[in-house]
């Protein structure tokens, strides 16, 4: 029974992977490298949290094919990503270029982190005086001991 289940699962997983990856042949290693690095870095426009290498969407397939065609024509990685950017904008890149428009995007997380740290530091500082009030001075401890001693005598 379990063996059948394995066979079914294997069949499903095979059909899924066969679905998403077309078999492309390249003239040389360099072309293959360019193709893989590009499809990792280009964003699928209909399923925005995937790159086109991972996506099953039709548009991602079309973009893979377009990328493949251009790679086969020995276009460089830069040329191909520029081709996509002039058509779909910076959005198509998973790593947007570093320019004034995208500074907030690049520095945003860092800014939020620093603001968070500042808050924590301020919070900890405001806690300190209270903590000092709570702790007893040696004199006070002595007094408590005396009080206990007196009580014990009674």
């Amino acid at each position: 029974m379990i063996r059948y289940l394995y066979v079914i699962l294997l069949a499903i997983s095979l059909s899924v992977s066969a679905n998403s990856i077309e078999i492309y042949t390249f003239d040389n290693k360099q072309q293959e490298k360019v193709y893989h690095s590009l499809t990792q870095d280009l964003r699928c426009l209909v399923c925005q949290n995937q790159n086109i290498a991972e996506s099953n969407a039709e548009l991602a397939k079309d973009m893979r094919r377009k990328t493949y065609e251009m790679v086969k024509q020995d276009k460089s990685e830069k040329e191909i990503s520029a081709f996509m950017v002039t058509r779909y904008g910076d959005f198509v890149l998973y790593r947007p270029p570093f320019e004034p428009m995208t500074w907030l995007l690049w520095f945003g997380p860092l800014i939020i982190f620093i603001v968070g740290i500042l808050f924590v530091v301020r919070f900890m500082k405001s806690q300190k005086p209270d903590a000092q009030v709570d702790s007893l001075s040696e004199e006070e401890i002595e007094r408590i001991k005396n009080l206990h001693a007196e009580q014990d005598k009674k």
Binding site: D62, R65, Y88
Partner: protein, 187 residues
């Protein structure tokens, strides 16, 4: 007593921050509901730029080529449609109205379809297009930065893209985005 005021303010700070965040959320959601903002929209790079050229076989007469450069001197629409796109079925009637009543030149770009399916749809709903480029391999589609259907572009007489609308066309969208390019030209 002089101490109460700042401490009151302090106590309410989180609440005020919450109110600001909540109203921001509400604002964005109303925009999205009205269709004025869609987080999945990708701004087009083509506005005010020359329309990308395409030469593709005609959907109905495959021997005839449909070419964007033949449209120079005219203000025209490029409408990306497909039989697998539901909104296109919904939009179609309005396209027929545009072509027949307002005399607008619409070139269709049929995307990733079977010829027979696409022809059947036109037979059922009417044909608003003066020509239809058949693009089963998304060649012109990628060149025009299209990522969904329907999408409609307006190209002016100098061959410059002036408007892109993502989603179905209707009278309201027409009046808001397209109508002003046609006043006194064809109507």
């Amino acid at each position: 007593m002089s101490e109460t005021k700042p401490s009151m303010l302090r106590r309410f700070t989180p609440f005020i921050i919450f109110l600001i965040m909540a109203s921001l959320l509400l604002y964005m959601m109303t925009l999205m509901n009205r269709g004025d903002y869609n987080p999945r929209d990708i701004p087009t790079e083509l506005i005010a730029k020359p329309a990308p050229e395409f030469t593709l076989p005609d959907l109905i007469n495959p021997e005839v080529m449909v070419s964007s450069s033949a449209m120079k001197g005219k203000t025209w629409l490029l409408n990306v449609w497909a039989t697998w796109c539901r909104e296109c079925w919904r939009e179609h009637e309005y396209l027929v109205t545009l072509a027949e009543q307002k005399n607008i030149t619409i070139i269709g770009l049929n995307w990733r379809d079977e010829r027979t399916d696409a022809r059947n749809m036109l037979r059922q709903l009417g044909n608003p297009f003066s020509q239809i480029a058949f693009d089963p391999n998304s060649e012109a589609v990628i060149d025009w930065g299209v990522y969904g259907a329907p999408e409609t572009f307006l190209i002016d007489s100098e061959g410059i893209v002036r408007v892109k609308h993502k989603g179905a066309l209707n009278e309201a969208v027409w009046q808001e985005k397209f109508a002003r390019y046609f006043t006194g030209v064809t109507q």
